[in-house]
């Protein structure tokens, strides 16, 4: 009897290995996912701000098994001639081999660069922060913020996690007061720290996976679900329900009805995360 139980528990693992799509399909037919979630639930999310003391602002975000750390370092830089008051905010995503067996050592992967670019575009186009708040002295010196988002554990949905980590790190950011001396040296007074940046809106990203057979959409896909699916949709909304960015890649199966349901789920998610962010920063 016990032998049989052992045999059956082994066989489902083997089944998952050799026929991942079939294994997955059987779960979906029962309206449940392999990790026990319903089709449109997001994984439990937690935020910790200020975990890295060497950074000017930092946050660690967990979405289920995905863990990312975002650290922001500030440096003094010379502003661009055409925008003498504007500072810089440079996001960068690192997916090193520590976080998953599927990543190889070497130069940044396409996935990491694509994610960094999406974040950068949203920051530029959607007017999230006022870069002139990073001005030290017009035309002479501004703060340049390097936001490095390092993935520590990868289990799918890196875009949502990176966005959330970046937002919380920006909320955590504090800079020393600085002035430019007549000898054109920038002097920073680290006993007087200020919180320079106000976020004008909170861009909250929600990612969905679309499956053709059976026809379903899944919220917050894990690594294995991402690998099985050919289409993902990322929707970035702000907390007022404005759409900031939509990205759908691959496949051709998505109809209008499906997109609509994704938008309503993204809206719910934005409200939920907004509350979580508020709670974390008030602590």
């Amino acid at each position: 009897m016990t032998e049989n139980q052992v045999a059956s528990s082994f066989s489902f693992k083997i089944f998952e290995r050799i026929k991942p799509d079939e294994y997955f399909r059987r779960f979906i037919e029962e309206n449940v996912r392999p990790d026990g979630r319903a089709l449109h639930t997001f994984r439990p999310t937690s935020i910790r701000q200020g975990a890295i003391t060497t950074a000017n602002g930092s946050a660690m975000v967990r979405i289920g098994g995905t863990t990312v750390v975002c650290g922001i370092k500030a440096e003094v830089a010379e502003p661009r001639v055409d925008r003498p008051k504007d500072g810089f905010l440079v996001p960068n995503v690192e997916l090193s081999p520590i976080c998953s067996a599927n990543f190889r050592p070497g130069p940044p992967s396409e996935q990491a660069q694509v994610n960094a670019e999406i974040i950068n575009q949203v920051l530029i186009n959607c007017d999230i922060v006022d870069l002139s708040e990073l001005c030290i002295d017009e035309g002479k010196a501004v703060w340049s913020l390097y936001a490095d988002i390092v993935c520590i554990n990868y289990d799918g949905n890196i875009l949502d996690a990176s966005f959330l980590a970046l937002l919380c790190a920006l909320k955590d950011l504090s800079l020393p007061t600085a002035e430019v001396l007549p000898s054109s040296i920038v002097q920073a007074n680290s006993s007087m720290m200020i919180k320079p940046l106000k976020l004008r809106r909170l861009p909250i990203s929600s990612t969905f996976c679309i499956f053709a057979n059976p026809k379903v959409t899944l919220s917050d896909p894990t690594d294995s679900e991402e690998n099985l699916s050919k289409e993902t949709v990322s929707i970035i909304l702000d907390t007022d329900g404005k759409i900031l960015y939509v990205h759908k890649s691959g496949g051709a199966m998505c109809d209008a009805e499906m997109m609509k349901s994704c938008f309503s789920r993204a809206n719910e998610r934005a409200a939920e995360l907004n509350e979580l962010i508020e709670r974390t920063s008030s602590q």
């Binding site: 060497t54 650290g71 090193s96 520590i98 490095d148 289990d155």
Partner: protein, 244 residues
């Protein structure tokens, strides 16, 4: 004098420690779900994460060794970990040197001959740097290898010691390390007391070497006690959960 006073008259150090005192060490294993073995270690403000993947198939066929496993170490420093943001490329020479030192430290300790034609990957990520990265990385890697269940002949425990105003001090932090005081990193196998790695990059009078090395070895033994208790505790938990 504008120079920082690293030792007070009472013999206390800049962070209030005694000369022969370690910083607080927190170690955890199995912190990453994706890796076969992982560990997180905090030594004072130095925070380091290690992940071990393998033994697994060798990635490049030409590297295959037919009598033993190869060990591959990647060392990465998060750009926000230091006080000055430095964008280090993956192939930065300094990182490669540290990775190679760690690789050579573990090669004789891991029983690689049990896994011929395979590869063991050790990935190290420094999240916050406050002196003693090499020792923190070695300690984290030991814990991650144990967590992955890879057979080793012993722990590898590493510690640093230096010399400030002719006084040997244990476990230097970043301020002490960067103020031109010599720093000696020692890694030992605690059971036999054999020295596995010894590295020093600045000037130290040869008469002082013995006392500094002795202090570092003492530190290694203390670290061994801490790491061993964490491993035993985890194993006990595992055993209890299996018996239930």
């Amino acid at each position: 004098m504008s120079r920082l006073e690293l030792l007070t008259v009472e013999g206390l150090r800049i962070d209030g420690r005694r000369p022969n005192e370690l910083r607080k060490i927190t170690a955890k294993t199995s912190v990453l779900a994706q890796a076969d073995g992982s560990a997180y270690i905090e030594q004072g403000n130095t925070k380091c994460l290690a992940a071990v993947y393998g033994p697994q198939e060798v990635r490049h066929r030409m590297q295959i060794l037919h009598d033993r496993a190869i060990i591959n170490v990647e060392f990465n420093v998060a750009p926000f970990s230091t006080s000055e943001r430095k964008k280090r490329s993956k192939n930065d020479k300094r990182s490669l040197e540290i990775a190679s030192a760690i690789k050579q430290t573990f090669e004789p300790v891991v029983q690689t001959s049990q896994f011929p034609r395979s590869q063991i990957d050790i990935y190290l990520q420094v999240l916050q740097h406050d002196g003693g990265t090499l020792q923190a990385c070695i300690n984290a890697a030991t814990m991650a290898l144990i967590d992955a269940g890879i057979p080793m002949i012993d722990y590898v425990c590493a510690s640093t010691a230096g010399c400030i105003e002719k006084q040997p001090v244990l476990d230097l932090n970043y301020l002490e390390e960067s103020s031109d005081s010599p720093e000696l990193t020692v890694a030992i196998l605690p059971r036999t007391g054999k020295v596995n790695l010894m590295s020093m990059e600045s000037r130290l009078h040869v008469d002082m070497l013995e006392s500094v090395a002795a202090l570092a070895t003492q530190g290694c033994e203390q670290i061994h006690t801490i790491l061993d208790s964490v491993v035993r505790q985890n194993t006990q938990l595992l055993k209890d959960s299996m018996l239930q």
